[in-house]
Symmetry: C2
Subunit: 435 residues, 2 copies
């Protein structure tokens, strides 16, 4: 690129109207001079060819993406992926590692999720020339952009009102077994867990509307038993029904589930597209919960893809009341910093959008509550065990009780082990966890 063309993709923040731009933070590795690589990135993701042949015009001032900050972290680093370098026809053994902040004029595409994703994670970004690794690390939206999004209908406060639980984390449980188990015994497991103290009995993310367990029958059976559990315990309960399906069935399945007594629905957001969730949000009468399927390839590598918190912000905008996302367990292959950034993205101020409840998931049990509470520094989170509730030696009732006892120990400031001496279900949970 000529120097003048490179310069055209740079700007001083103060010269730009903040309300017209979304802010993008990328990490990238490049084979060429970083300033030019970043300009080329901006060109590819906005005004690739900025004038007609023979016409004196320039769309860059109004429509061009602009680099407002560029930091070279290391200009002689080993590439994170020598393979990607080789696909570019290069044998370079050194690259520059760069953080770049780009302001992007969103009138290029409007306040639409698929078009946003096209621009910030599309061909222009992941196939930009001379860039051999790139990660979208963060995104921020002006108030004017956020104003077009409904966000969560219930949010953290609304969920707490539904349950009448204000002073502790919310206790989800994934009913297990799920794949293969017919609705009648499946519902019975939910009932037992609620009776033992679970707040929210949920379908597994793999369990949809199938002939051996239809949403119609499952929600009817669980809806009825939810009310019975509420009478029995004097507590409010939630049945979270997984309605993930083809997008033209989401509203219908929502209606069936809600009519039958489900009082929250789950959609595996990336698999249906976040736009489908935004559509559902306009129609929904109950909280909507996301599960993180199909996100692994984006989020797991620190030098490539898209950082989880970007999707968290977009999902909050789309209208999810709860996000289940990869938490601290080693199985989840997620850094502690990423899990925390995600929780923050759920709860921090974001235009007038309500907060979304973070549920950092992964092989949890009663003993997960204390470290999560300490790490997150708040009770505004959920845990979502499966086997710890439904594989408990005393069954789901005992498993759910062990969670409540686990929180009681935290609340009272008593060591978990010590508290278990007088609480049999917790004692068994500890045995199960350490065996």
């Amino acid at each position: 690129m000529k120097k003048a063309d490179i310069d055209a993709f740079y700007a001083d923040r103060v010269s730009l109207d903040r309300q017209k731009y979304i802010v993008l933070e990328y990490y990238l590795e490049t084979l060429i001079e970083p300033r030019e690589a970043a300009a080329h990135l901006c060109q590819e993701m906005s005004t690739a060819q900025w004038s007609r042949v023979g016409v004196d015009e320039d769309f860059r001032p109004e429509f061009g993406a602009k680099v407002v900050e560029l930091t070279v972290l290391d200009d002689q680093a080993r590439p994170s992926s020598p393979y990607l370098v080789s696909t570019m026809g290069s044998t370079a053994e050194r690259v520059a590692r760069v953080n770049v902040t780009i302001w992007y004029p969103y009138h290029n595409f409007g306040t639409k999720i698929p078009n946003l994703l096209t621009v910030v994670c599309g061909e222009g970004v992941f196939h930009a020339p001379n860039i051999c690794a790139i990660r979208l690390v963060d995104i921020d939206f002006p108030e004017s952009f956020l104003a077009d999004f409904q966000g969560p209908q219930f949010g953290v406060a609304g969920l707490r009102d539904m349950l009448g639980v204000y002073d502790r984390p919310l206790l989800f449980g994934v009913i297990k077994p799920n794949v293969g188990l017919p609705p009648e015994p499946f519902a019975q497991l939910g009932f037992e867990a609620w009776s033992g103290g679970l707040d929210i009995a949920k379908d597994d993310e793999q369990l949809g509307d199938v002939d051996w367990s239809s949403v119609e029958e499952r929600s009817r059976r669980l809806g009825a038993l939810r009310k019975r559990a509420e009478e029995l315990t004097g507590e409010k309960k939630i049945y979270l029904c997984n309605i993930t399906d083809e997008v033209d069935r989401l509203l219908e399945l929502h209606d069936i589930a809600v009519k039958n007594g489900a009082n929250a629905v789950m959609v595996n957001g990336m698999t249906t597209g976040f736009s489908a969730v935004r559509m559902l949000r306009k129609h929904a009468q109950v909280p909507i919960v996301s599960h993180f399927d199909l996100m692994g390839p984006f989020i797991q590598l620190p030098w490539f893809g898209v950082k989880d918190q970007v999707f968290t912000k977009i999902q909050r905008m789309a209208g999810f009341d709860v996000l289940i996302y990869p938490g601290f367990d080693h199985r989840l292959k997620t850094s502690k910093e990423d899990v925390l950034a995600n929780a923050k993205a759920c709860l921090q101020p974001m235009g007038s959008l309500k907060p979304t409840l973070p549920v950092p998931a992964g092989s949890q049990w009663a003993g997960s509550l204390q470290p999560l509470y300490e790490t997150l520094g708040s009770v505004d989170f959920g845990i979502v065990p499966g086997r710890a509730v439904f594989g408990h030696p005393q069954g789901p009732r005992g498993g759910a009780a062990s969670l409540r006892q686990g929180w009681e120990a935290v609340e009272k400031g008593i060591d978990l082990k010590e508290y278990s001496w007088t609480h049999r279900e917790l004692q068994q949970a500890i045995e199960m966890h350490t065996s």
Copy 2:
């Protein structure tokens, strides 16, 4: 896992009914004994907890994923990502590299795209224990599964009938500039390109329905000029309108575009979700074209994510008539083998689904035709240049003419350079390309 539990996730192909299973090929790297790692993967992606506490039952025979083949490529390999190993709390410097073939009983989730993606690319796969890298390399569906999908409405033959072009590749061109250019001059560029010999003038993937270029006005102007270009040239032409938008607007935008004279529509499939395309397919009157935005993070690394051909097969099932995907250019960071596998997945027999036209994209020009034709071994492909048509010194008319001349040279077996001596537009294209 106990030996008996590992064994429960293994089966001999001949003992299984092929029509009940989809076939998944994974590449994976593991810290533990490969046979156990693969069994654990099957467990996580199907019957995680296969019985209730205190009940003598086992859902694995009917609902369990089954390893039918496992090949250890190297049991002392350096991990592709030491970082991912470290997130798992390990300092292992050696891993086993494994290919594994899994048969998955699809009655677990039904013939639904979001639920399919949840299972084959979900938490169970990308967050499976002791697996520090995984890639879904291929997928195959039984006829019984494919029978529920419409696939392409037009396919390659239908597109050729629309254009009356049977013996050569189809010539797409991305109208440029696009971001910022109002509909009237934008349409004029399309008209000139058609007049010069382009088959299909298309919107850029970044150009949606925006206030400065609505689909309504753009399709009206291009629809009218398309007819004029057809009269002028005596050839049939296509205007491909990008209707990528929130999923609840796709059908409406399709109707507006088609009413106004667009005779094909583009949707950036991954950004809307493939399920939204399947919905559009049921309604569409014109061919549907995909562009590959948001796919980069899945497809670029050979040891991680999802191989492009998996998405190609799913997109063909969803109903795309044309797939624009990363081609041979270095900028696209895609191996030659992956590009070829994709073309094959578009065209090979697949139940009763029509073939999809492969368009391996990337900085193409007249000189791209010969190598593509030779590499693909067929005329059933498209090219999709942008600047080579719309940045040509003689403008889009000259740029489009250069493409036709480029193909004439291939047809006549004349060297491109030699042919350019008598074809000015081609000569200029060569100069532009080599400058």
